[in-house]
């Protein structure tokens, strides 16, 4: 069995832990530089504030009813680590998928007590960290993701939904689920599926995998098997376009060497940059994570993640690498045997409607054009002559950028001077 644990309205939930007054209020968190709304509470969704909406476009009447906060990445990164720590007390197989989602493998666990176990886990996450989570369970990642969605929407599940791939209930649910709501089926693929007469998830599940492979790609073929309950998609195949990009890999052998980590993260950041440029996006924050092998009970376990706001939305690999290297300096601990490290690009926005913060220095058109040309050439060389034909060395020093974050709450968990206050 596979579980997908998803934190409910993660950024907003983090804020509410330290500011309980925000409970029940319409709360939005804005992207880096206070551009767009990137996280929303249920209440602000109900007021009609859309995901990605530029903050200044919100109707003033509605704006008055909302609390809009700047992103507090230090807090979200720390809370995310804590949630993962609790999850890994329940199964050693935790795969971080994004800052607020993890896939858990429950191989070898008894299926009929699993829902109960997950209720206990869910309540422990809530108690220990204050973050509400939902759990979806099934035999494939895609179905677990769908089950998770149901756990969130249908209150009868009480936060934990299990979907038997072969039940009538599952069939009924898939029959009314439009294909574009399936994990990994983007708008364009959905439109093309429509032309083949495939409109809902059940139709996709019963379609011929080979046929779909011819029309789309191997990923679409695997999706058919996933909907049938066979787990066959790897997380690296399934970075959600437009929302985040994740590149990570386990080391072939455990390492304590910072140089190994540095080189791996540099390669991951370059690769993430390529992916980002291919989807014509810009990243506003970057997460670096490292962890040890949780199976090695004989070695100290360590897991750390750090979210670094980027000075301005960017797709420039050199800037991504620079931030990743700065992040490594903060998360690296000596004498620890690392198993895996990775990069996640977060809060992506479209290249075409980049929001510049008022204080962020705009790059001159000439410089931007030059950067874009450089990155395009880089991608082309690597595409045509194989990965890593051209690699980026040490990036040059750049002046520090001022971030716009007027409405950022204190960094409650990472700064002594900013701890939450308890009135005595």
């Amino acid at each position: 069995m596979i579980g997908l644990v998803d934190c409910n309205n993660f950024y907003v939930s983090c804020e509410r832990v330290f500011n309980p007054r925000l409970e029940g209020e319409a709360v939005g968190v804005m992207s880096n530089n206070d551009g767009c709304v990137v996280a929303r509470s249920q209440e602000i969704k109900s007021l009609g504030v859309a995901m990605g909406m530029p903050a200044h476009q919100i109707d003033p009447h509605i704006r008055r009813k909302c609390t809009l906060l700047s992103s507090n990445y230090a807090l979200y990164g720390d809370m995310s680590s804590r949630v993962t720590d609790v999850l890994s007390q329940h199964t050693p197989h935790v795969d971080v998928y994004s800052i607020d989602e993890s896939f858990l493998s429950f191989e070898g666990f008894e299926a009929d007590t699993l829902e109960e176990r997950c209720q206990v886990m869910r309540q422990q996450v809530r108690r220990d960290t204050g973050i509400p989570v939902s759990v979806g369970l099934s035999t494939s990642k895609t179905l677990a993701k769908i089950a998770n969605h149901r756990a969130k929407k249908e209150s009868m599940f009480n936060g934990v939904a299990m979907m038997d791939p072969n039940s009538n209930d599952t069939r009924a649910f898939l029959e009314q689920l439009p294909v574009n709501e399936i994990w990994g089926v983007a708008g364009r693929s959905a439109a093309r599926l429509h032309t083949l007469g495939i409109e809902n998830a059940w139709q996709l599940r019963t379609a011929s995998p080979k046929h779909l492979r011819r029309h789309f790609s191997v990923v679409m073929e695997r999706l058919v098997y996933e909907l049938r309950g066979e787990n066959c998609i790897s997380l690296d195949d399934m970075s959600q376009p437009k929302k985040q990009i994740m590149v990570s890999r386990s080391f072939g052998r455990l390492t304590t060497d910072k140089t190994d980590l540095r080189e791996a993260l540099r390669a991951h950041a370059s690769r993430a940059g390529e992916k980002l440029r291919r989807q014509n996006g810009l990243a506003q924050a970057l997460m670096v994570f490292v962890h040890t092998n949780r199976f090695r009970q004989d070695l100290p376990s360590y897991s750390k993640r750090l979210v670094i706001p980027l000075p301005h939305p960017t797709d420039d690999s050199r800037e991504l690498i620079k931030s990743a290297m700065a992040g490594l300096e903060r998360v690296f601990k000596k004498d620890i045997w690392y198993q895996k490290c990775g990069i996640m690009l977060m809060d992506l926005c479209d290249h075409d409607n980049e929001q510049l913060g008022l204080l962020a220095e705009p790059i001159s058109d000439e410089k931007r054009a030059r950067n874009e040309k450089l990155m395009a050439t880089l991608d082309k060389l690597n595409r045509e002559h194989g990965k890593n034909t051209v690699r980026l060395g040490m990036p040059r020093k750049q002046n520090a950028w001022e971030l716009r974050c007027e409405h950022r709450t204190p960094r409650y968990t990472t700064r002594w001077e900013e701890l939450a206050v308890a009135k005595t």
Partner: protein, 149 residues
């Protein structure tokens, strides 16, 4: 001759086993190597004070109502969210949306939040929007000038 026991507290069954340093000498019943007494590791205050790292948060106390319980104004509080609050515990509760530090007490079979300074009236949990936040396990204040907490 009488014997004194000091109760240090209950064994925490939730805590994961701590990694203890391995003694270098061979263990022989009755004859431990005298060298073992000289093997020392640095004391890790954080590990000593914090049993559940992912559930532990630091908070800052503001106010004087808890001074007789050892919590000075501006003290650093170590708060463990994984503990179940019991009467007698110093707790953090969200009271009408505000994080509040008081002692949890039962008076006449009803739960109250009580300050150690009797000038402050006990707050009944019923009648307020109260949510448990965590149990205060330690309070740290600096005594020497120039040492910040």
């Amino acid at each position: 001759m009488s014997m004194h026991f000091t109760i240090l507290g209950r064994v925490d069954t939730m805590a994961r086993p701590l990694r203890l340093p391995l003694a270098a000498g061979e263990v022989r019943a009755g004859f431990p190597s005298p060298a073992d007494d000289y093997i020392e590791v640095e004391l890790d205050l954080i590990a000593h004070l914090i049993k559940h790292p992912s559930a532990t948060f630091f908070l800052r106390a503001k106010g004087t109502s808890m001074e007789d319980d050892g919590i000075k104004d501006n003290a650093l509080l170590i708060v463990d969210r994984s503990l179940n609050p019991q009467p007698g515990h110093i707790v953090i509760m969200s009271v009408d949306g505000e994080l509040t530090c008081k002692k949890l007490s039962i008076m006449g079979s009803r739960p109250y939040l009580v300050a150690s300074n009797p000038e402050f009236k006990p707050i009944p949990l019923s009648g307020h929007d109260c949510h448990n936040w965590g149990v205060v396990t330690h309070s740290i204040s600096s005594l020497a000038p120039g040492f910040a907490i």
